[in-house]
């Protein structure tokens, strides 16, 4: 999945929603409850690793509690660390099993005025 956004925060948020698109969540609204979660990632190797590490944390919530977040807000965003407040629903229903977010071809970098990266998911 090729991602492009005007800011790093937007790139990271879009990556979350792009991952859900791959997981093809079924937009379940019945029998779900709203959830709010704080996810903090510290001391990643660099910004590319920060994105992969963050997405793996979000993915973990999908695996263990079928949480699907619809809003992502960053309360701290540094080169190798972040804290995000995420809100959404659970339990969501996913059709595709994304088993891991890989480092394969991931490279967060500037491209003109935008930030961009490739993301490859292990299915």
């Amino acid at each position: 999945m090729l991602l492009r956004a005007a800011t790093l925060e937007a790139l990271f948020a879009d990556a979350v929603f792009g991952m859900y698109a791959v997981m093809r969540d079924e937009e379940t609204t019945s029998n779900t409850s709203p959830v709010t979660r704080t996810i903090a990632v510290d001391d990643s190797a660099d910004t590319t690793a920060l994105l992969v590490d963050f997405l793996n944390e979000v993915l973990h919530r999908a695996h263990v509690a079928r949480e699907r977040f619809t809003h992502v807000a960053f309360t701290r965003f540094e080169e190798r660390s972040l804290t995000a407040e995420l809100t959404g629903i659970a339990p969501a229903s996913f059709e595709e099993d994304v088993k891991a977010v890989t480092y394969h071809e991931a490279d967060v970098r500037r491209d003109g005025d935008d930030w961009t990266t490739m993301l490859v998911f292990d299915l």
């Binding site: 001391d43 990643s44 190797a45 590319t48 690793a49 590490d53 793996n56 973990h60 695996h63 263990v64 079928r66 996913f94 059709e95 595709e96 099993d97 088993k99 891991a100 977010v101 890989t102 480092y103 394969h104 991931a106 490859v120 292990d122 299915l123």
Partner: protein, 461 residues
């Protein structure tokens, strides 16, 4: 990569010389026919193999089997042996699904007895063995059992009532990798794995009932309890979410510490640490625990298959022929040196050891035994399957599920698939020709053909 980059060493062996790229520490070797090589060079698997040839401490050559295809960092169907004293261990060289592997069972019930009840039997197995996205099983491990499964693998599952004491004698490493340290498996990995023991999962994992359609070596087949037209069952799965999380956790650590050890890799997915380092040792101990979880998983699945089978055929014990890992790292001795053999989509093939090579549904699978040449040529390794040729996305776009179901029906194959998507992704045309792949390892002297199976029922997510 072009074919002109290779030197042809013999009919089935091609070498990319060390001079191909300045950072290669050893040459790279590919087992393939010329026709296969023409196909293999179309993806990036051999560029990945060249990257593997740059790993610190790699010995002799980086090796690709005839089923090689592009993976994350390290190609699937790849083997790398690294010096155990001063080399590295790379989680990417094992893969995310630690100890993904194959178990082969043999039934004493005849094909003619099973045929009229095949649909019912397949359905019964599907009910006993959950499969598909996010499907957990009925078995919820308590804390004590979780620790013991991670430490002791299949034998703990047997102690819990999922098998007989004799079963472990028919599993690689007796169903337990030594050195497992359960406390190194993270809470996140445990959360993912707590209800997954005894489940197949999704993707290319399956349970399959097969009929033996060819016996190549009657003596070996007899030794392994296999006969023409007899029935066998294959189980293909691994350590589920737990193993994936161990791999994810370890890659994160390795990515951070590589610079401390002065290591640079050509691809982040080859992130590694010296085997002797704290991080290297911790990875091996966590990987062993995940591998033990996988051995226990296939053991619990075996118990589910036996329950289903024995409801229909009470007198059939459904014995284990063998169980092999194809995503694992092991310290092994070759000559005077200990090496860490990374096998990612590659099967151990020690002389005399059964080698299980599943094909795709609708084609065939093979039972082989390892031969002496594997010890001198491939660090005791063989191929692991047909090798994917078509991406899952392309398969979903190009293959019609109903047409595929009809085709399988015409072949006499019962398909118990949880989803049409799961079925088309694993269609025969998504894979290379299994017969040609196995021919290469057999004619190269790596493993000897014993028997060929064809599917009669496929159970998958």
């Amino acid at each position: 990569m072009k074919k002109s980059d290779f030197e042809k060493l013999d009919e089935f062996l091609w070498e990319i010389p060390q001079t191909h790229r300045g950072d290669m520490r050893v040459p790279a070797r590919v087992y393939a026919t010329e026709e296969m090589l023409d196909s293999i060079v179309r993806d990036r698997s051999l560029e990945q193999l060249v990257n593997v040839a740059t790993l610190p401490g790699i010995q002799k050559y980086a090796i690709a089997m005839p089923d090689v295809h592009e993976g994350y960092g390290f190609p699937i169907g790849g083997v790398a042996a690294v010096d155990a004293r001063d080399g590295v261990v790379s989680p990417g060289g094992i893969g995310y699904d630690i100890n993904c592997g194959v178990r082969l069972l043999r039934a004493s019930t005849s094909f003619s007895e099973v045929e009229p009840r095949l649909g019912k039997l397949a359905h019964s197995i599907a009910r006993e063995v959950p499969s598909g996205v996010g499907r957990g099983g009925a078995l919820k491990l308590n804390a004590t059992d979780f620790e013991l499964v991670l430490r002791d693998g299949a034998s703990r599952a047997i102690e819990m009532g999922y098998g007989t004491a004799d079963d472990v004698a028919h599993i690689e490493s007796n169903g337990k990798l030594d050195g497992a340290e359960p406390h190194l498996v993270s809470g996140a990995a445990r959360e993912r794995g707590h209800d997954q023991l005894g489940t197949i999962g999704s993707g290319n994992h399956f349970v399959e009932i097969d009929r033996v359609d060819t016996v190549y070596d009657a003596d070996e087949a007899s030794r392994l309890g296999i006969a023409f037209n007899s029935l066998v069952v294959q189980i293909h799965t691994g350590s589920r979410g737990l193993g994936h999380q161990v791999a994810t956790d370890s890659l994160r650590v390795m990515t951070k510490v590589m610079a401390q050890y002065g290591i640079e890799v050509a691809d982040r997915e080859l992130a590694c640490a010296p085997l002797s380092s704290r991080e290297g040792q911790k990875y091996l101990a966590a990987m062993a625990a995940a591998a033990n979880f996988a051995f226990a998983n296939r053991q619990v699945i075996t118990a589910g298959i036996r329950r289903a089978w024995q409801r229909e055929f009470p007198d059939d014990p459904v014995a284990i022929v063998y169980d092999v890992a194809h995503n694992v790292a092991k310290v092994e001795r070759y000559g005077d040196a200990d090496v860490v053999v990374h096998r990612k989509g590659a099967t151990r093939a020690f002389p005399g050891q059964p080698v299980l090579i599943p094909g795709s549904m609708g084609t065939a699978s093979y039972l082989l035994v390892g031969q002496d040449a594997s010890m001198t040529q491939t660090f005791g390794s063989s191929c692991h399957g047909a090798g994917r040729m078509m991406s899952r996305t392309r398969a979903r776009n190009e293959i019609n599920a109903e047409e595929l179901r009809g085709r399988l029906r015409k072949l006499g194959i019962v398909a118990e698939a949880g989803s049409s998507k799961g079925l088309v992704e694993e269609a025969p045309e998504a894979y290379k020709d299994i017969d040609a792949v196995v021919d290469v390892v057999a004619r190269a002297g790596i493993a000897k053909k014993v028997a060929r199976f064809v599917p009669i029922a496929v159970i998958k997510g």
